[in-house]
């Protein structure tokens, strides 16, 4: 029977919704699971996850964990995971930039194999096969971890957010492990966060995404549409590199992976690396003036048009038909 440690991800003192995908993964393994909430303010956040059926909600709340530095977070995760009394055999984090930075370092401490950014797990008795997207999502590889303890990061878009199961898990404080000696050589300077009223890219029901074609009018053209649809805004790498959109909007193999109910790709050619980040969307719309653009190969609805006329027209049509 599995005994899984779910590492919650905190942001601004709240549990990130992505954590609920890790809980879904833990439930799929069967057996029991506990949730570790660590960071400054973890004690207050812990109550957010007591209703999901965890054996325990473990809390490491300390001011030294105010800002994320891997060398300060990984030791406590590894120490909790290695606690012989608890007997965890699996550690799971979300495949966010936080989880991806942290998980290998935790795995190395536990002498554990690491299955990164998985999109499914098949449990067959004692055997577990992890499926993951490789080659920018053009092939799925099935891997097995050969060590007693497994470290896994899960792709949020492939594991639906867990629903509360009722009950109230017991909250228990755990000791903070000493920071890695290397922590003395790394200093947190600052976190620059794009302030936005919009939903997070990973959580939005609708994503409006723009490419290089939008030029300096990126926000001017896309904002009215995104506002109307309550959508998150995404971008291609080319749009980010050119400075038309901030880097954190990049969707793709090396940006955010999204799978909203509706993805609208505007002036995006549809390079492999971009498709890797949005192919899992339920409905895809592409608007591009080049009818042969590869984006049309994955689009449910394609419109060959100049975006500078099509998008304002789309905005007024939406207003007209919903009014």
């Amino acid at each position: 029977m599995a005994n899984t440690l779910v590492v919650a991800e905190l942001h601004d003192g709240k549990v990130r919704k992505a954590t609920l995908s890790s809980i879904t993964f833990a439930r799929q393994l069967g057996g029991s699971f506990s949730i570790l909430v660590l960071g400054a303010g973890a004690a207050a956040a812990a109550s957010e996850v007591t209703g999901y059926g965890a054996a325990k909600v473990l809390v490491a709340d300390n001011t030294s964990l105010k800002d994320y530095v891997c060398e300060r977070f990984a030791p406590t995760i590894a120490a909790v995971a290695a606690d012989a009394h608890a007997g965890f055999d699996t550690v799971v984090v979300t495949a966010s930039s936080y989880g991806k930075d942290l998980a290998p370092r935790v795995a190395a401490k536990l002498n554990a194999g690491y299955a990164p950014d998985i999109n499914a797990v098949v449990v067959d008795g004692n055997r577990r096969v992890y499926r993951r997207a490789m080659f920018a999502g053009n092939a799925y590889g099935n891997c097995e971890v050969k060590t007693a303890v497994h470290v896994v990061s899960v792709r949020q878009t492939e594991f639906p957010a867990a629903e509360p199961s009722g009950g109230a898990s017991a909250i228990e404080n755990v000791a903070l492990a000493p920071a890695d000696p290397a922590a003395s050589r790394v200093e947190f300077v600052s976190l620059e966060h794009g302030k936005s009223e919009r939903p997070d890219l990973g959580e939005a029901r609708v994503v409006v995404s723009g490419g290089r074609a939008l030029k300096e009018q990126f926000a001017q053209v896309l904002d009215p549409l995104a506002n109307l649809l309550g959508a998150a805004v995404g971008a291609s790498r080319a749009a980010c590199d050119a400075g038309f959109a901030p880097a954190e909007l990049q969707v793709g193999q090396t940006g955010r992976v999204v799978a909203p109910a509706l993805y609208i790709a505007i002036g995006i050619s549809g390079a492999i690396q971009h498709l890797a980040g949005m192919k899992g969307s339920k409905t895809i719309v592409a608007i591009n003036k080049d009818g042969d653009a590869p984006i049309f190969q994955v689009a449910d609805y394609g419109l060959v048009a100049d975006l500078f006329t099509a998008i304002p027209e789309l905005v007024s049509e939406l207003k007209r038909t919903t009014a």
Binding site: C70, A139, R185, L262, D300, Y301, A310
Partner: protein, 274 residues
């Protein structure tokens, strides 16, 4: 500053949609092989950190490149030498006898021998998309890590300010060397790397540099060492193994609509997403 840059050769990422699965295995036959783009960026970063952009011929430090692979990867290593790296090491290995953990353990042995100030590598190789070697190596060495670097500034020879690209923003760290830094796409923007040797206002051309023909010839004389993985680790076992592979489900073909009105109509009545 002495910098070690691990490089992996990968199937041409721009043709990744031509990947086949034959007898349950990923099949890359017919594809060209190229350096992992992130590793090319890491080499470019290493070169920018060890030169004054006003005279790129003089290396102010040392750049050593290392690859795990068969003789097929020699071209890639020679290419890195031609653009300015000083020495190359090839560790003989095939991909199916490697996992990220073994690569990291073997790199640790190389680091202990070479004693670089910095290991600079790609944040992920675009075959496995696994994003782990840098972090594993940092832990095995007991060094600080700064992953997904979108920009790097060397203030003094032993300290770097690294801007990490994280979900929703940028996280800035100051690391004291030796350290492991993995690079992201925007590191090769004109101002991605600010070296203490180069005038602050200097703008590099976007992307990576290409080798001149003369340099390609000269690179043939640069030191090129070969070793076996068992020279580096006593235990070459894998922690993660890959079994079968499959192609992802194809999306069913969509339709082209003629007008914006038709698009809205379809989204409302057919897809029911509005």
């Amino acid at each position: 500053m002495k910098i070690l840059v691990p490089l992996k050769q990968v199937a041409d990422p721009d043709n990744a949609n031509k990947i086949k699965v034959t007898a349950g295995k990923i099949d890359t036959t017919g594809l060209a092989f190229k350096p992992n783009p992130f590793d090319e960026y890491a080499v470019e970063t290493a070169l920018r950190l060890t030169e004054n952009a006003a005279n790129t011929k003089a290396r102010l430090g040392e750049v050593v490149v290392v690859a795990f692979g068969t003789k097929d990867v020699d071209v890639m290593l020679r290419g890195a030498l031609a653009t300015g790296a000083d020495r190359a090491i090839r560790v003989d290995a095939t991909d199916d006898a490697l996992d990220g953990d073994l690569v990291a353990r073997a790199l640790k042995a190389i680091v202990e021998k070479e004693a670089p100030d910095l290991v600079l590598l790609g944040k992920q190789q675009v075959e496995g998309d696994s994003n782990q070697v840098g972090q594993l190596l940092a832990e095995y060495l007991g060094w600080p890590q700064a992953t997904f670097a979108g920009s790097i500034k060397s203030e003094a020879d032993k300290a770097l300010v690294v801007s990490r690209e994280v979900d929703g923003g940028t996280l800035n760290l100051k690391v004291t060397l030796p350290a492991v830094v993995s690079v992201d796409l925007r590191i090769v923007n004109p101002h991605g790397v600010k070296s203490m040797h180069t005038a602050a206002a200097h703008a590099y051309p976007e992307g990576v540099r290409f080798a001149a023909l003369m340099a390609i010839m000269a690179a043939k004389k640069k030191p090129f060492a070969e070793m076996k993985i068992t020279d580096l680790v006593s235990d070459a076992s894998l922690k993660v193994t890959y079994g079968s592979a499959e192609l992802p489900p194809a999306r069913k073909a969509g339709i082209k609509v003629k007008t914006v009105a038709e698009l809205v109509e379809k989204l409302k009545t057919e897809a029911k997403v509005l």
